[in-house]
Each structure stands twice: as C-alpha cells, then as structure tokens.
C-alpha cells in the first residue's frame, strides 16, 4: 500500500470552455497536515469536488490511498472523510442519529457504530450531547459533530473545506489542535482549505493556489523564504497579488 494518502497529478478541469484548474500536481503523505491556501475563486472548492468525485475528470489524475478515484471510486471513497464548507448535518435529527446514518452509509453495523460514535464524540467532548437535536447546537458544536462523523469510518485522508469559518476563537483553536493531534498520533493525512493563516503550524505543508495554478508549495518557512517576507500573510499576498481583494 502506498504511503501517499493523496496523489494529484497533472489535474486539469474546465467548466465548459472556462478552464479553472491547470496541471495541478501534489502529494500528501500519511500523517501530514496540508493546507490549501488561496483567495476566493482560486479553485479550492473545485479541487475538493474532484477529490470527492462529485465532479468527474477525464483522466486518472487522483489517487486516494493508492486507489484511483476514477477507476476504483468505491475503494477510494471508503478511505476518505470529508467536512464540507456548508454544514451537511440533518438539523431535525439528533447527533447520534446523524452519525448512525453516516455509519450505515459506510457499511458499519449499528452495534459497532455505537462504539465508534462514543469514541469519536468523547474525543471531541460531545458525547454528553449525543441525544440533542442538531438544530439546537451552536456552530462550533455542529462542526465538531461533522468532524466526528468524517472520522468514524477511520479514513486515511480527511478533507476539511474551511471548517472554522464563522466560529469563535475557542472553537477554532480546539478544532485546529484536535486535527493536528490526529495527524501526529494516528497517521491521518489532512487536506485543509482555509483563509485563516494562523491555523497553519510550522511543520505543516502549504499548497498555495491562485487562478487554478499552484503558485508555491512547502512549509511556512519555505514560502516566506521564497518570497523574502517575514509573515505567511505577506507571502500569500506576494504569491497571489491579492492584497486589497
């Protein structure tokens, strides 16, 4: 089995005649936390839709834990956990019911699911709330439930599409900390799209994307060195020419 959790090679994508992704090539290794940074319209969400197979691609450009998303989609998707930008929980169901539904879709028996639900919710301090209806939860708690859900089937790669937008500082910090711990201790690989650069730690990988192209790739220090800047935000503006956008 490949040690690469995600391999994207020469990925192009167009909406009709309008090309939005150009020759994207990058890898994420097991246990690595990678951040996808880029201004609005850079192509981040399109890339996520391709990795999750909501959009199709013409060639075999994406491999997830060694499985090609086009030719072996079911094996690849079984190794993927996703938290979408918009909340995708059923607001009228309880936390537990939402998680049981997801477990069923992943082929996990209700008995095993209950054990996994307890494990995941306890790690995120949400177990006490398992019987609450999602509509009654605040934004931070809903996000935690979505993260618990994305991790229930023990994926190799976790995709996070701006999961902390709109959350208070404490909720953001708790999610950032939890995800980094998972990478370190469980070998989970993460691809995290964000605008919030303080979520990136020194050891994380950054993929800077702008107008559908990768502008830079490396650690925080690499990017700052490359652009002769002292802050990641400065490096971002320099690479994307997006100051004031």
């Amino acid at each position: 089995m490949s040690e690469q959790a995600l391999e994207v090679s020469e990925l192009n994508f167009s909406y009709g005649k309008k090309q939005v992704l150009y020759d994207l090539t990058f890898q994420i290794e097991k246990g690595q936390c990678a951040f996808l940074l880029g201004p609005n319209g850079a192509g981040k969400s399109t890339l996520f839709s391709l990795i999750t197979r909501l959009y199709d691609q013409d060639k075999n450009n994406i491999k997830l834990a060694g499985f090609d998303i086009k030719t072996q989609p079911l094996k690849a998707l079984a190794r993927l956990g996703v938290v979408f930008q918009q909340t995708t929980l059923d607001l009228d169901l309880s936390v537990k019911q939402n998680l049981l539904y997801h477990a069923a879709l992943q082929g996990i028996s209700p008995k095993k699911a209950k054990v996994l639900i307890q494990q995941q919710l306890e790690q995120l301090d949400m177990f006490e709330r398992q019987n609450e209806v999602v509509r009654q939860l605040n934004g931070g708690h809903r996000r935690r439930v979505e993260i618990a859900r994305a991790l229930m089937h023990q994926p190799k790669l976790l995709l996070l599409d701006e999961p902390t937008v709109g959350l208070d500082i404490a909720s953001r910090e708790s999610i950032v900390k939890h995800v980094h711990q998972l990478c370190e201790h469980t070998g989970l690989a993460v691809l995290w799209a964000t605008h919030l650069m303080d979520e990136v730690l020194d050891k994380d990988k950054i993929i800077m994307i702008h107008q559908g192209k990768i502008r830079a790739e490396g650690s925080r220090d690499d990017l700052m060195q490359q652009t002769s800047t002292e802050l990641l935000s400065e490096a971002f503006f320099s690479l994307t020419n997006s100051r004031g956008e």
Binding site: D56, L74, K75, A78, V82, F84, D90, L93, Q97, A104
Partner: protein, 264 residues
C-alpha cells in the same frame, strides 16, 4: 453485501424519521386527498355518472371511482416532495454526504427512492383507513394486492421526481415544474374521469391521457384494489419506471455531467 443492507436501512430509517418528525407534512399529505374525496367528489357525484366499467361489477359512487386516483395523487405528490427534498438537500449540502459514500450511485439513488415509497405507502394506508369509514370498502384482499402495486407505482412516480431533481438547478425553478408536471399529469389522466368520458370531449386529450404514465399507475392501483391484475397498466408502469430511473441516474452521474454542468 451487508454494506448494502446497512446503507439501505440507514437511508429508509432517515426518511421515515424525518417524515414522522415533520407532522405538517404528514397532515398535508393526508388532507389533500381527503378534501378531494369529501368535498370535490361529493359535489361532482351528481354531475358525473359512472357506467359499469372494469374492475367494478356494479354501478359505483363517484367517490369510489376517484379513490385509486387519489391514492395515485398521494404517491405523485410524495414523489415530487422527495425530489424537492433532494434539490433542497443538494442546495443545503446533505446530498453530498450521500453521494460521497462508497457505494454505487445507482444504488444510493434507488435506496432514496425506496425510502420515499415506504413513506408514501404509509400515507396511502392511512388514507384508505379513513376512506373505509366513509363507506369506500374494497374487498379485504384488495388491501393486500395493492401493496406490491403501490411499491411499483411509488417507484415510478418517485423516479420521475428524481429525474426532475437531477435537472433542476434551484428550488425556485422547482415550483414551476411542479405546476407543469403535477397538475397536467393529474388532470390528463383517468384519476378523475374514465378515459371513455374524456374521449367523448376530445380525442387529443384522450390520447394524451391514455399514454400518460400516471393513468397507467392509477389503473394498476384500481384493478389491484379489487383483486385483479391489469397487466397492460403494470407493464407500462414498469417500463416508465425503468426509463425514468435510467435518465435520473445518468443525470446524477458525475461523468455524464448534470452535477458537473451545475458546478455544484
């Protein structure tokens, strides 16, 4: 294989649970056909005389005639409601969780359809129970015979809704389609008047009604309710189901591009 069972159970359970929680949806699904039965049918009883036509072996009241049509109406509305919820789910994002799960898309969509059909069958039996107290009493075996028929008719009408949901971009567009689909389908069918009566007024309308899949579904239900099998209507319903489902699956297939084209 167990994966498929768990997933099917999960999808059906979710739909049933949502339905039970949404009491207004249950009530409105029930009130609609009951208003037609108690008010419309009572008013038109005198105006529309019904001759003896199969499967009935005697003169019947107009209420008795339109009952199968109203059962079809429940399933038609339910099919459209399910697809409306799919458009909503897609806009809200929860459809993504379904489509990202590691199962073939045709299976996920068919499971979603089946879940909707279970809900519609619950509504139909509650409706039939109320109708029984209103002296609409088909033979007891009819209640059993109609069950497998309701599964197929429900699947066909649900597949039509699914097909529409694959091609509709936003909820706003959906309201228009409801008007262009539900009402023409319902009025240009044998739900409210027998086909021969329609033929007396207009040949064109008669032809449209004859080939309307909703007519076939209603006739299939009508015969089953009286313990008879209308093969022609059954085959037409099955054919319509297969065609609608195939187009819907193509619509939701990422490589065929409905999702792609929408850029969702």
């Amino acid at each position: 294989m167990t994966h498929y069972w768990f997933a099917l159970w999960g999808i059906v359970f979710r739909e049933l649970f949502r339905f039970v929680k949404q009491k207004e949806r249950f009530l409105s699904a029930l009130v609609r056909p009951l208003v037609w039965l108690f008010v419309f049918a009572a008013g038109f009883r005198a105006a529309l005389g019904i001759a003896i036509i199969p499967p009935y072996d005697t003169y019947i009241l107009y209420e008795v005639y339109i009952t199968p049509g109203l059962i079809g109406m429940i399933q038609l509305f339910n099919g459209m409601q399910s697809s409306l919820s799919m458009v909503y789910d897609r806009e809200m994002g929860s459809m993504r969780i379904l489509l990202v799960s590691p199962l073939p898309r045709w299976f996920l969509l068919t499971s979603k359809l089946l879940a909707g059909v279970f809900v519609s069958i619950l509504q139909v039996y509650v409706f039939l129970m109320i109708a029984w107290f209103y002296d609409i009493q088909p033979p007891i075996e009819g209640y059993l015979w109609v069950l497998p028929v309701l599964i197929l008719t429900g699947l066909m009408l649900g597949a039509l809704g699914l097909l529409l949901s694959a091609f509709i971009k936003q909820l706003e567009n959906f309201a228009g389609v409801m008007n262009f689909v539900i009402f023409p389908m319902f009025f240009m069918s044998s739900a409210l008047y027998p086909l021969w009566k329609l033929q007396e007024s207009s040949q064109v309308l008669h032809l449209i009604a004859k080939y309307n899949p909703f007519t076939q579904a209603v006739e299939f239900i009508r015969f089953a309710l009286y313990g008879q099998l209308n093969q022609e209507a059954g085959l037409a319903t099955l054919l319509a189901f297969v065609v609608f489902l195939m187009i819907a699956i193509i619509g939701y297939n990422p490589s065929k591009g409905m999702m792609k084209r929408k850029g969702r």
